[in-house]
C-alpha cells in the first residue's frame, strides 16, 4: 500500500470517517500511522471524541494488535512559521511578519502557498525517519479537501509555478509534487450510491488522472443491507394485504391491519432505492477502479463504528502485504 493515502470525497459522504477508519486499519498489527487533517475543522477530534487537536502529532487511538494511530491538525500559519524558523532562524521576524499581515497574506491569500504548506507538512511526515533509519510512520492518511477541490489542492506545482518560479516555496512545491505523483501516494475518493456523489467521483477521477496524480480506489460508503427487492414488493402489494395482516398478528404484532399499508410503503421505497443503487453501481463499474465497500452505520459514526469499519477494510485487503 502506498505510504501516503489521501482521502477525498463529496461533502456528506463521510470522508473523515473513512480516513480515520483507514488509518486504524493500516495501524493494525503493530504499525504506526499518522492521520492528518488540513482544513481546520477538527473533524478528527470530534470523531475520536477527544479535545481539539493541537499543532502537534499526538496519539489518539490504539489499533488491534498493538498498532498506534497518531493525529495532527495541520495549520498553514504554524507550518509557515516553523518553516521560517527552521530554514532562516526567523522566530522573532515571524512575529513581526504576522503583525504586518504578511503571514496572513502568505497562508490565506497568496494562491497555492497555503496548499504547499499543508501538503508539504504531510509529505515531510511521509519521508521522516527515526534514528535507526526506519520510517517514523508506516502510513500517513490525509483527510483531504472535497472532490471538487482535490486536484487543485494536490497539484500545487501548477498553482505555484506561475508565481514563485524560484525560491524555497518553489523548491518546496517541487519536492511535494515528487512525492504526490509517485506510487508512494494514492488518492481515494469516497462516494455514496447516489447520483450526485457518483457523478462527482467520476469527474474527480478524470481530473486527477489528467493532472497525473495517482488515483487509488473508490470507497463506496454507507452501503445499506438489501432486504427486499422490487419483485418481492410487487408480490406483496398484490392481493395479499389481508394475508400479510394475518401473518403479522400471528407473529405477535398487534394492530396488524393498520400496519400493512405503511410497511408496504416502506418496502416500495426500499425497492426503489435498491434499483437506484444498482444503477449507480453500474456507473461506478464503468469507471474501472477497484473499490472498497463500507456498511452504513445505523447508530452513526462513533468510535465503535470506526473500529468496525477498520475491521471491514482489513477484511477487504487493506494492510495486506
Amino acid at each position: 500500500m502506498s505510504r501516503l493515502q489521501v482521502v477525498s470525497g463529496k461533502g456528506g459522504t463521510g470522508k473523515t470517517t473513512v480516513a480515520a477508519a483507514l488509518a486504524l486499519a493500516l495501524a493494525t498489527e503493530g504499525k504506526r500511522t499518522l492521520l492528518v487533517e488540513v482544513e481546520g475543522r477538527q473533524g478528527i477530534a470530534q470523531l475520536f471524541e477527544t479535545e481539539a487537536l493541537p499543532y502537534e502529532e499526538r496519539k489518539i487511538a490504539v489499533a488491534p494488535g498493538g498498532g498506534e494511530v497518531y493525529a495532527l491538525a495541520i495549520d498553514a500559519e504554524r507550518a509557515l512559521l516553523d518553516y521560517l524558523q527552521m530554514f532562516y532562524k526567523l522566530g522573532g521576524a515571524g512575529r513581526a511578519l504576522k503583525k504586518l499581515g504578511a503571514i496572513d497574506f502568505a497562508t490565506t491569500i497568496a494562491p497555492g502557498v497555503r496548499d504547499v504548506l499543508l501538503t508539504g507538512k504531510a509529505c515531510e511526515a511521509v519521508r521522516r525517519r527515526e534514528r535507526d533509519g526506519h520510517p517514523a510512520y508506516d502510513h500517513v492518511v490525509m483527510d483531504a479537501p472535497p472532490t471538487g477541490r482535490i486536484t487543485r489542492f494536490l497539484n500545487v506545482n501548477d498553482e505555484v509555478a506561475g508565481l514563485a518560479r524560484i525560491g524555497p516555496i518553489h523548491n518546496q512545491a517541487q519536492a511535494v509534487m515528487k512525492v504526490l505523483k509517485s506510487p508512494d501516494t494514492a488518492v481515494h475518493l469516497v462516494t455514496l450510491l447516489e447520483e450526485m456523489p457518483v457523478q462527482e467521483t467520476a469527474d474527480g477521477i478524470a481530473e486527477l488522472r489528467a493532472a497525473g496524480l495517482p488515483v487509488g480506489r473508490v470507497v463506496v460508503n454507507m452501503v445499506r443491507p438489501q432486504v427486499l427487492d422490487e419483485a418481492a414488493v410487487r408480490a406483496a402489494s398484490g392481493d395479499h394485504r389481508e394475508a400479510i395482516a394475518r401473518t403479522l398478528v400471528s407473529a405477535g404484532v398487534t394492530g396488524g391491519a393498520a400496519l400493512v399499508e405503511p410497511l408496504l410503503d416502506q418496502a416500495a421505497e426500499h425497492a426503489r432505492r435498491v434499483e437506484l443503487e444498482r444503477e449507480q453501481r453500474a456507473v461506478l463499474d464503468g469507471i474501472g477502479l477497484p473499490a472498497y465497500e463500507l456498511p452504513y452505520l445505523g447508530d452513526g459514526a462513533d468510535i465503535a463504528g470506526l473500529y468496525r469499519l477498520a475491521k471491514e477494510l482489513r477484511r477487504q485487503g487493506v494492510g495486506a502485504a
Binding site: L84, L90, E159, G162, R224, L248, L259, L264, D265
Partner: protein
C-alpha cells in the same frame, strides 16, 4: 438517502411518528417543542428581498435554493437564483444546460401572478474580470488581467469564490430587476467561510502589508526599496527569499495597478455585508439530520446572531419518517424472528428473504458479478456488511406470488426487518436533532422528507418546495 418519490402520493408521517419515537427510544424534547419554520410567508412577503441558503457541504443547499426559487416564482415573485457550483443535473432540472455568469430565464414556471424565475451560476474569474474592466481604463485593465498574480488570485484563492459571490449578490441587488434574490453559498471548508472570506480579502487590501508592498512601487519600482527603512527591507527581503523576487514583483505590480480600485472593493464588500444584516434578508441554515451537518448548522446559527444577521430558520433535509412508527424496532425485530424461526426452518436464523432463493445468489452487487468478472476491473469489491441480511433477489422463474404460508412468513419478516432498520434511523436522527434543539430551542425548523433520487426537473423541484413549506415534512 432517500426513500420517497416526489409526487402527490402520501408523504411520510413524521407527525405520528414523532409521538411514537418520543414514546419509545428517544427522550423528551422532540420537535413539538420547536417552532415551525413557515416558508410561504417568507416567500410571499414582498419585503423579503434576499434569501441566503448556507450550511456544510452535501446537505442539499443548492437544491433547496433552486426549489425555493421555483416556489417563489410560482407564487408571483420575480426571482433570481444565484448558484455557486450546481451539479449538472440540477442545472438541467431548471432547463438550463449551461448556467453561466448571467441570469437566464427558466421556462416552465407555472403561476398566474406574473412570477418569473431566472437562474445563474457564479463564474468567479469572470466576475472578477468584469469588476476590473468596469473600474479601470482599458490599458490598466489589460495590465491587471495579464498579471500572473491576478490570474492566480482570480482563479485560485480559496476565498475568491466567497468574495465574488458577495460581489455578484451586490450587483444583482443593485440592478433591481428582481424582487427576490436567492443565494446558494460556496462549498467552503467551513460554512462560515462565506462570511469570513470577503473580510479577509478586504483586510488584506486595506492592511499594512499591502501599503508596504505598494510603497516601493509608488516610489519607482524596486529601486525604491532603498528608501525604505531597514525593518521593511528586511521583511521584503524575507518574503523575496521565500517566494522568489519575481513573485513579489508580480504582487507589487498588481497592487500598483489595482491601487485606485481597492477603496471600491472594500466599500462594496462592506455594503453587501450590511445588506445581509438588513431586515429584507432571510438566512436559511440547511442541514441533514447528521452530527457533523448539524454541528456546522449550530456554529452558523451562533455566528449569524453575533453578526446581527437575520436567521429565518433551519431547513432539515433528508429526514426519514415512518407511517408505522407505533411499532418499535425491538418489537418488529422480535416478530420477524418469530416468523423466521417458526416457519423458515430451512434457513439460518437472522436471514430474511423471500422464496427458496439461496442466500448466495442474493447480493447482486457482490457475488452475482463474481461470475462475470470481465465487467469488473478487479476482484476487489467484497461484500460490504457481513452481518447484513442477504437480499431476497426474487427472480421471475421462481414466481412472485406468495402462495404459501412460508412465502408469506418470509415476506412479512422482510417487511418487519426493514421497518426495524427504519426505526433505528429515525431514533438516531431524532437524537441528533434533539442535541441541536437543546442548544438552540429558538430556531424554527422545517423538515424535508428524504427523496429516493436526485431531482431531474422542475416537477422535482416543485415537490421539494411543497415539502419545504410544510414544516412537519408531510402534507
Amino acid at each position: 438517502m432517500t426513500e420517497r418519490t416526489p409526487g402527490p402520493e402520501r408523504t411520510p408521517v413524521p407527525e405520528r411518528n414523532r409521538e411514537a419515537v418520543e414514546g419509545t427510544a428517544v427522550g423528551a424534547g422532540g420537535l413539538d417543542a420547536v417552532p415551525a419554520l413557515e416558508i410561504d410567508p417568507i416567500l410571499d412577503d414582498r419585503g423579503t428581498r434576499i434569501i441566503v441558503c448556507c450550511g456544510s457541504g452535501g446537505v442539499g443547499k443548492t437544491t433547496t435554493a433552486a426549489a425555493l426559487g421555483v416556489r417563489a416564482a410560482e407564487r408571483g415573485r420575480r426571482v433570481v437564483v444565484l448558484t455557486i457550483d450546481p451539479a449538472r443535473r440540477l442545472a438541467q432540472s431548471m432547463g438550463i444546460d449551461a448556467l453561466d455568469n448571467t441570469p437566464r430565464k427558466v421556462d416552465g414556471i407555472k403561476g398566474s401572478d406574473g412570477g418569473e424565475l431566472h437562474a445563474m451560476m457564479l463564474d468567479m474569474k469572470r466576475t472578477f474580470d468584469e469588476i476590473v474592466e468596469a473600474h479601470a481604463d482599458p490599458a490598466r485593465a489589460r495590465a491587471i488581467l495579464e498579471n500572473p498574480f491576478y490570474q492566480s488570485l482570480s482563479a485560485g484563492f480559496a476565498g475568491t469564490q466567497e468574495y465574488m459571490a458577495m460581489e455578484k449578490l451586490g450587483q444583482l441587488r443593485a440592478r433591481d430587476e428582481w424582487d427576490l434574490i436567492i443565494v446558494d453559498t460556496p462549498p467552503s471548508r467551513s460554512a462560515l467561510d462565506f462570511l469570513d472570506a470577503p473580510k479577509r480579502l478586504g483586510s488584506f487590501l486595506d492592511g499594512k502589508f499591502i501599503k508596504l508592498l505598494m510603497a516601493p512601487a509608488k516610489v519607482g519600482g524596486r529601486a525604491g526599496m532603498k528608501f525604505l527603512n531597514v525593518g521593511m527591507s528586511m521583511m521584503s527581503g524575507t518574503l523575496g527569499k521565500l517566494l522568489g523576487g519575481q513573485f513579489l514583483g508580480d504582487v507589487q505590480t498588481f497592487v500598483a495597478a489595482m491601487d485606485t480600485m481597492f477603496g471600491g472593493f472594500r466599500t462594496r464588500a462592506d455594503a453587501t455585508y450590511r445588506l445581509l444584516q438588513a431586515p429584507g434578508t432571510a438566512f436559511l441554515v440547511v442541514a441533514a439530520p447528521e452530527r457533523d451537518a448539524l454541528r456546522e448548522a449550530a456554529y452558523f446559527v451562533e455566528r449569524l446572531a453575533a453578526e446581527g444577521m437575520p436567521l429565518a430558520g433551519l431547513v432539515l433535509n433528508r429526514v426519514h419518517g415512518s407511517g408505522a412508527a407505533g411499532l418499535s424496532a425491538e418489537r418488529a425485530r422480535a416478530a420477524a424472528e418469530n416468523l423466521e424461526e417458526g416457519r423458515m426452518g430451512d434457513r439460518g436464523p437472522g436471514k430474511t428473504g423471500l422464496r427458496g432463493v439461496p442466500a448466495t445468489s442474493s447480493e447482486p452487487s457482490h457475488h452475482a458479478t463474481a461470475a462475470d468478472s470481465s465487467a469488473r476491473p478487479s476482484a476487489a469489491r467484497p461484500s460490504a456488511a457481513p452481518e447484513a441480511a442477504p437480499t431476497a433477489d426474487v427472480t421471475e422463474e421462481h414466481g412472485t406470488d406468495p402462495d404459501t404460508d412460508q412465502d408469506l412468513a418470509r415476506l412479512t419478516a422482510g417487511l418487519l426487518r426493514l421497518h426495524a432498520e427504519r426505526m433505528r434511523v429515525l431514533a438516531r436522527e431524532q437524537r441528533t436533532r434533539d442535541r441541536f434543539t437543546a442548544l438552540h430551542p429558538e430556531v424554527a425548523v422545517t423538515e424535508v422528507a428524504a427523496l429516493p433520487g436526485d431531482v431531474h426537473d422542475l416537477a422535482g423541484l416543485r415537490a421539494i418546495g411543497e415539502r419545504l413549506s410544510s414544516p412537519r415534512g408531510g402534507s
